[in-house]
Structures are given as C-alpha cells and as structure tokens.
C-alpha cells in the first residue's frame, strides 16, 4: 500500500514536471540541479530553490519600490537587480522568469517606464506561478519521501 502510494506520487511529480517543461516554466537546468542532489546532499534542490525564493522576493520588492518612486527611476540599479534575478533564475532553470527578466531589462535600458511596469507585473505573475508550482512539487516529493520510507529520489 505504501509502496503504491510512493509510485503514484512519483508519477504525479513527473507529470507536474512534464507540465512545467511543456509550459516552458522550467528547462534542462532544473534537471541538472536535481542531478546534483544525492545522498550526501539530500535537500540540495529545495535548499537552493528556497534561497532563490528568498533572494527573488527581496529583488522584486526592490524593483517595485524603485518603479513606484514617482519622481525618479534608478534604471542602473534596476539593471543590477535584474541581472541578479536573471542569473539566479537561469541557474535554477526558471526559464520563463528569466525570459521576462530579459524583456524587463530591455525595457529598462530604453528607460521605458510603462514597459517596465508591465514587465514587473508579468514578472511577479510568473514568479508566483513558479513558486506555487515548485512548492507543489516539493510537497509531493516530501510526501513521497515519507511514503517511500527513507529512500531518496531522483537517482539518475
């Protein structure tokens, strides 16, 4: 019974991952990240992703505050933030987020404030979507680990 549950959960996880791949939310880099996880670092992926969330939320907050400042927009600073965001996103394989970042950066390089605002909204949307999905994924994984006893996943 327990084993069956674990299999189903793994199937769920794969399906979710497939969906995310298909939607272009994630790319191969995420798989690579998962490959880095092994017995010695069992929570590597979730650890990295959590750092990513933490950082990204800070960055997003900063970006929003820069853009909301009516008098002046510090595009240079915005560019630095965006680079950070883009780098970390591509590191964990969040493809769509990093694509939006590229568009955002282009808009900020053109000092296009309206474009920046639109991009920011899109970025927040994508980020939320990614966060939800990844949380879902980790939840399933957690359940699976529980279900499968102390077996570690994704030994490829």
């Amino acid at each position: 019974m327990l084993g069956l549950g674990a299999d189903r959960l793994r199937a769920d996880m794969n399906r979710l991952l497939a969906l995310l791949f298909h939607q272009g939310v994630l790319d191969e880099q995420f798989l690579q990240l998962q490959q880095l996880q092994d017995e010695s670092t069992p929570n590597f992926v979730s650890e990295v992703v959590n750092i990513y969330f933490h950082e990204s939320e800070k960055l997003l907050k900063n970006l929003r505050s820069i853009l909301m400042d009516k008098e002046f927009s510090d595009y240079k600073k915005m560019g630095i933030h965006l680079n950070q965001m883009m780098g970390s996103s591509s590191s964990i394989g969040a493809k769509r987020v990093s694509n939006v970042c590229i568009a955002f950066r282009a808009a900020s390089e053109q000092h296009n404030r309206a474009g920046c605002l639109r991009a920011l909204e899109l970025l927040e949307h994508e980020y939320c979507y990614l966060k939800n999905k990844l949380h879902e994924l980790f939840q399933i994984e957690q359940q699976r680990i529980l279900a499968a006893g102390v077996r570690y996943p994704m030994h490829m």
Binding site: D7, R10, A11, N14, L17, A18, F21, H22, G24, D27, E28, Q29, L31, Q32, L33, L36, Q37, D38, S40, T41, F44, E47, V48, I51, Y52, E55, I80, N83, Q84, M86, G87, S88, S90, S91, I92, G93, M154, M156
Partner: protein, 1017 residues
Amino acid sequence: MCLKMLQHHIQKQSLVQNHSVSLRVNDQTGTKKGYTFIQANRGWLPKFFMLWVLMVAFFSMLLFEGMDAENKVRRKDFLISMCDQRARMLQDQFSVSVNHVHALAILVSTFHYIKNPSAIDQETFAEYTARTAFERPLMSGVAYAQRVLDSEREKFERENGWIIKTMDTEPSPVRDEYAPVIFSQETVSYIGSLDMMSGEEDRENILRARATGKAVLTSPFRLLGSHHLGVVLTIPVYKSKLPPKPTVAERIEATGGYLGGAFDVESLVENLLGQLAGNQAILVNVYDITNSSEPLIMYGHQNQDGDMSLVHESKLDFGDPFRKHEMKCRYLQKAPIPWTALTTAFLFFVIGLLVGYILYGAAIHIVKVEDDFHEMQELKVRAEAADVAKSQFLATVSHEIRTPMNGILGMLALLLSTELSSTQRDYTQTAQACGKALITLINEVLDRAKVEARKLELEAFPFHVRSILDEVLSLFSEKSRKKGIELAVFVSNKVPEFVIGDPGRFRQIITNLVGNSVKFTERGHIFVKVHLAGQSNGNTNVKDETFLNGGSEEGAKSDTEQYRTLSGFRAADERNCWDSFRHLVADEDSQPNSSVVDMMAANDASEDVTLMVCVEDTGIGIPFSAQHRVFTPFMQADSSTSRHYGGTGIGLSISKCLVELMHGQINFVSRPKIGSTFSFTAVFGRYKKKASLDRSKSKSEELPIAFGGLKAVVVDEKPVRAAVTQYHLRRLGIVSEVATSIKSVFGMSGKNGSTIPGNNTQPDMILVEKDYWVSGEHGSAIGQLLDLRQNGHVLKFPRLILLATNISDDEFDKAKAAGFSDTVIMKPLRASMIAACLQQVGVGMKKQAGKDAPNDSGVPIKSLLCGKKILVVDDNIVNRRVAAGALKKFGANVECAASGATALKLLQIPHSFDACFMDIQMPEMDGFEATRQIRKMESQVNEQQMVNGGSTIDGTAKRSEWHMPILAMTADVIHATYEVCLKCGMDGYVSKPFEEENLYEAVAKFFESKLKPVSDS
C-alpha cells in the same frame, strides 16, 4: 506554435509586399530619372510612326509633283515653240501668197486698164496665173471680177457676149452693181461670168476691200470646188492712179475690179505641217476669231481627241486688220505617265517607310527590352527577397521547433529515469534517439540557412588538431566497431600541434565526412589522413618513381595483399595506398620526433597553415551519374539511397560551404562499389607560441607523458596500418619499429635479450595486429616467444598486446590462451586510449590515479577535482550555491566568496586554493578587475621570489611560480568574452549554468597539465 508560425508567415508576406511596393516606387523614380527618351514617350511611338509615314508620303508627293512639274514645263515649252514655229511659217507663207496676189492686182491694173486697149484677155490671164501658180502655193486659184454698174450692164453683156450670172449660175437679177468674173485661172474656171457680189461673203469682202484698198479675207467657208475649208482673199484693182491719202469715195470711184483668190487653208496647213518634224505629236487647229465669242474653225476638227489639258494659242496675222486668226496647238496624246518621277517618288516613299519602320521597330524593341529588363530586375529582387525570406523562415522555424524538442527530450530523459519495463524503456530510448536525430537535422538545416544568409562566421582561436581528430574518431568508434570497419587517423608530423581557426566547424566537416563514410561502408576501412597541403605534391612525383622501380615487386605481392591500403581493400583514390604513403611517413621518420618544434620554426615564415584532410572509405561509392550533384543540398546519390541509409543529404553541402569559408576546396574521387575519397583543404592561422607557455604542457595536451622513451615493436603486414599505429605511439612518446612477422621480432629481441639484457634497444612492448595473429601461421613463433618469456630468459620481457577492430569472446579467450594475457586494444586507435590500456597493464611505470580510460567522462572529472580546494566567487547567492553544489558533487572542496573584494582577501598569498571560478558580472568589482588584481598580486610575489634566489618561502608554495588558475563563469558564451577573459589573465571559462562536459573540458586543461609537477614532487 501554429499561431506563431502563421504570424511569421504574415510578417514575411507583408515584408515581401513592402519590398514590391518599394520596388514600384523605385520604378517610378527610375522613369523620371534614368529612363530613356524612348521609354518615356512609349505611348507616342505609334503616333510618331504614323506621323513619319505621313511625312514621308507628303515628301514623296512633293518630289513627284516637282519632277512632274518640271516635265510639264518642258512639255509646255516644247509645245509653245512648236506652235509658234508653225504659226510663223503659216503666216509667212500666207503673206508671200498675198503679196503675189497683190502683184497680180497691180499687173491687172496696169495691163487691163491703164494700157488701152487691154493687153490682157482670158487666155493671157489664165496662162500667166497658171505659170505663176507656184508663187501662190496656198491658193487654189485666182480670178478677176470687173466692177460693172447696172447702167453699164447691157453694154458689158453685149461686149462680152454673155450675161451676168449669180453664184447659182442663174442670170443675175438687177442690182446696183455687179462684179462678174472676167478672167479666171484654169483651176477655178467654173466661176467665170459669175457675179461675185451675189455671194454674201464675197460681196461683203468686195465692199470692204475697195473701201480699205487692202487685201481682205472672208471668214472661212467651204470652197466651191474642193469642199475644203478656205477663205477668199479679195484685193481691189483700181482703174487709175489714186491720189495720196484717198478717201473712201475716191477709192470706190477708182475701183475697176477685184482680184480674188481662194486660200485652201486646210490643204495649206496640211502641207505646211507635213514639212515639219514632230507633226504626229501635235494637233493644230486654226480659228478665225474675228467674232471672239464664236470662233470659226479654219483647220482641224473641233471635237478631236487629244490632250485637252495643255493648249497653246499663237496669234496669226494674215494682213487683214479686220479679221483675227489664231492657231491652237495641243498634244495629240496625253502626257505620258512620268514613270521616272513616279518610281523615284515611290522608292523614296518605300525607303522612308522602311527607315521609319526600322526606327519604330528599334524603338519598340528598346521599349520591350527595357520592359523585360525591369521586369527581370523586379523578379530578381523578388527572388532574392524570397530567398532571404526562405532562409529566415527556415531559421525561425528551426528555432521554433528546437524549443519544444528540448522539452520533449527533457521529458524523455525524465521518463527514462523512472522505473520502466524493458519494452517501455526501449520505446522511450527509440523516441529519444529519434528526437536527437531530429535536433541534429534541425541544426543542420539551421546551419545551411545561416550559411545561405551569410550569417555564419568562423571563430578563430587556437585549437589542437590531433585531439579534434581523436574526438571525431571516438564519436564513430562504436559504430565502426559494430560494423567491423577499420577506422584510423593519421596526422602528419609536419602538421603543427596548434592552429588558429574554428575547431567546431573543422570538426563538423570531418564528422560529416566520416559519418557519411561510416554510413555507406560495410567492409574495409575508413582512413582519415591529415597533412600539410604542400606535402602531397611532392609525393605524387615520388609515387611515379616507385611505380617504375618497384613494378615487379608489386606484381609478385599482389596475391597476398590485394591492395596496399589500410585494410587491404581497394580504395577509389590511390593516393593513400602505401606506395605514396610511405614517402610521407619516411619524410617524417627522417625528422627526429623532438624536432617538431624546429620544423615548425622553419615553416614559420608563412602566416597560414593549409591543412589537407583526406577521408578514404571502401564503401559503396557514388554512381558516376550522381557525382556532379553531390554537393547540392538535399540531393543524395539517388532516392533509393536515402531510403536505404537515411539522412537528408544536406551535410555535404554544408561541409562545402564551411570549407569555402575556410578558404579551402573540397573534392572527391569516387568509384562505385570501390569507395570514395573525399579530400578538402582548409587554411588556418599559424599559432605563435607564447614564451610563457610551457612547451611540454602544450605538446602533451591531454596525453600523459609517462611513456616517454619506451620502445615498441609493431607487428603488422600492412604498412599503412602499421604507420597509423606508429603515429599514435609516437604521440605518446613511444619509439616504435615495424616488423612484418613475429619471427623477426623474436630474432631481434632474442638476440638483444641474450647479449645485453635490459639494454635500451630492447622493446618494452610488442603490438600484434589481430589479422596477422588470426592467420595463424606464426603461432609457433609466438609460442617460442612465450616460452622464452616463461623461462625467464629475459629479465624484462616485453608486453604482448593485441590490436583488434572487433573481437568475439571466443577469440578473446583464444588470444588469452595464446599468450596475449596482457591486454587487447580495441580499434579505432586513439593515443589516449592506448595510453589508458598501457597504464592498465602497468607499462607506464609511474602509474597515476585517475588515469583510467577516459571514455566515461564522469570518472576523470571526479578524479580531476577530487580533493581540490576551489574558490567560487559570485555575488548571486543562488548561482553560488549551485556552482558549489556542482563542484562538490565532483568531490571538490568548495569555498565561496560573495564579491571580488572578499575573493581578494581570501587569495592573499600564501593560500591553499587550487582554482578559482569567477563570475564576471558582479557589482562593485567585476570578475575581470578581480582577476587583474589577483594576477598583480601574484606577480609581485613571484618577483620577490626571484629576488630571494628561488628559495621557497614556505611549505605551501611548492610551485616555482604562483599562478592560480582562474576560470570565468559567464552566461553568454560569445568568444569575444573569451578573449577578454584571456586578456585580463584568466585561464578559461565555463558557461553558466554548469554542464559536466563543459566543466570537464575547462578544468582538465590546467589540472592535467599540473599533474606532472605534482607527481614529480
């Protein structure tokens, strides 16, 4: 996706439309500017032509008129002169006759009246007039009528004995006066005794004549005798001399009678005209125009034919002031049609018409040609636009397909990682293989499109030629082994270690050619040979020579070795067979191995290195009919080929493009059923070695150098194959000799072994070709050799190594039994693989950890990085974590730094880091700057060391110089960045996010090179 494509399509269309619109605008401006006059007035051309024709017609008419008028004038002049001549002559003759009649009148007056009695009677008069008739040629006759008053009538009738009769020969009625004819010429004797005054005209004439005293004429009438038209001339004869200036009454009183003569005008003019030339051409009429409103005809017919258009009138003066006469002349015939003028005018018209038509035709032609030209130009522009659009479309679509394909492949990889049944796994693997093939195809199409769009640019940085070839070889080793084909690479010694160019593209070409060869070859060999382009030239000359010298030898050996190629199968191109090949090898053997660098120095004169690469196979070959379209994209030899072997046929066309980009040429020799040899040249830049680079480091590259100085004997009958084996051994630093049989080796080693054991000349290993061993004839020899070994006769017995393309388990066991217990090296040979195998059997005495066969790339990277202390510098915590995770996975000891400044602090010398991964984009101090600072620091310390006389400062600084390997981490993999990296002192770069192969490549470069000093210490 579909929507996206559609959108693209629409964009393309609108683009094309834009194109054509702009073209049309161009057209219009062109009409305004560059177009010819003709083109601009094309609508007017037919009108011009019509105008021209009309003009020509008008001019020809003018011409005709002119010529005709001239003719007419001439004709008229002629007529005038003729007419005048006739009139003058007529007048002259007439006046001569009148004069004579005058004279006759004087005669009658003198001899009839003044002389009394009269001296003239009828006979005298008749005779005289008859005899002088020639003087009056125009007169039919003359007669004299006496004036008789009524009172005198009876007396007169009595005297003469006859009565006066009227013209009708009736006795004359009573009148005031009578004029009976008393004398008459013979010709007109019928008028004798007739009263002339009884005829109306005569009476009038008589009255007028005696009143004026001059000769007078009647109007023309039909003459009595001849019924010709004529006039009667009447001259008064006076009885007495007239006083000067007599009055009319005096004249009438003095009148004695009248002399009359009839002019037969008709016959007169007839005679006259008969005397003149041109009589026939001219029609002459003579009129009496006394009554101008009603001219009376005197000669000619009123209604005669003739040219009525041209008439000339000449005045005639017959001496009678009362009467007026004229002569009218006409041409008898109408003016002849002026053929000359007509022909001239017509010809002129025709010529004019033709000229006009030619000009018109030319203009029309020009217009047409220009139209065509513009149409063609437009079509050309459109075709080019379509071509560009096609390339763009291909590129875009390929790109669009690639994205979802990556997803599919990723998913398949995920799927494979799950627990699958064997069938499912098989399906999945097939799907993955197909997906990979599709990606490859798409990449090829993309390449092709890029090449066509001229967007493909070659990179230029130094790369290692031989390792590229090894990589290609390893790529196909699996396939060739499966098929049992011998795959071999030979690189001439003269080819420099490093050249500057685009290794990816170079590899792509070779991979393509070798891939084709592998695909189409079922037996025999595939042989890749690389040498300098100049080398082959010399060889062909030598080849002829050997052919002459060694002809007999070859004939003898042809049974045992069918062809002196790598595998013994016949090849399409004879260039790679041993006869020519051995000169290439001999060339190299004459140069000691260590002198490669010297040679390169000698060749350094030129900037470029032209490499010639030949890929020879013994496959199915290309049919002669298809050879001309081998390089056309999407064309395979024939359609059945693609069905049979798969593939798109795009590879060769890409290869051709790439070769051309490398300023080279590609060509091939192929014979069906025998094989093909593709060869291409490529021009690379010569790599100038930097003084700082360690020679040994660059030379060994990835190869261990632990085998330097070892000796080997290669036992192989096939010299080409032996040369290939030697080439690989040489790369490992192993000196080798070739023996054609074990016996000779045995003899050699035995002799050496017995005399001087452990001598340098004794081989450390013997490499035996499997083919040779399988032939079995030399089993005993091997046995002997083994016996020798077991007896311990030789202290350090050479290792026996079998070289095989493919080997079955049975054969393997047999080989072990036969004494090849040491190892079997599977072909295709690669230096690194030989090295690995040799290490396995412990030939290289300094055995090193982590030097297993590098087929599995995961193992060496782990061994490379294991235990190394690595610093990761990145401001992005996520990246830092990921990089650290990846490196840790490979066993490295990782420390992190969040900024360039921190890294600098950590790297204060002395430190214990083995390498540093540096992010380029960092706030405050970026990777370049940090690296520069680190290098500055290092050089300061190094200088200090130099000052201190090379003594080590402390234990950690084992190396003579501080040089920390710094690798850039960057998200974009453009080579411009790479160059900047090198410039500021970095050793290499890895693309972010990490990929295992990429990381391995970058790390291996400096860790492997550092192995030597580490092991030395």
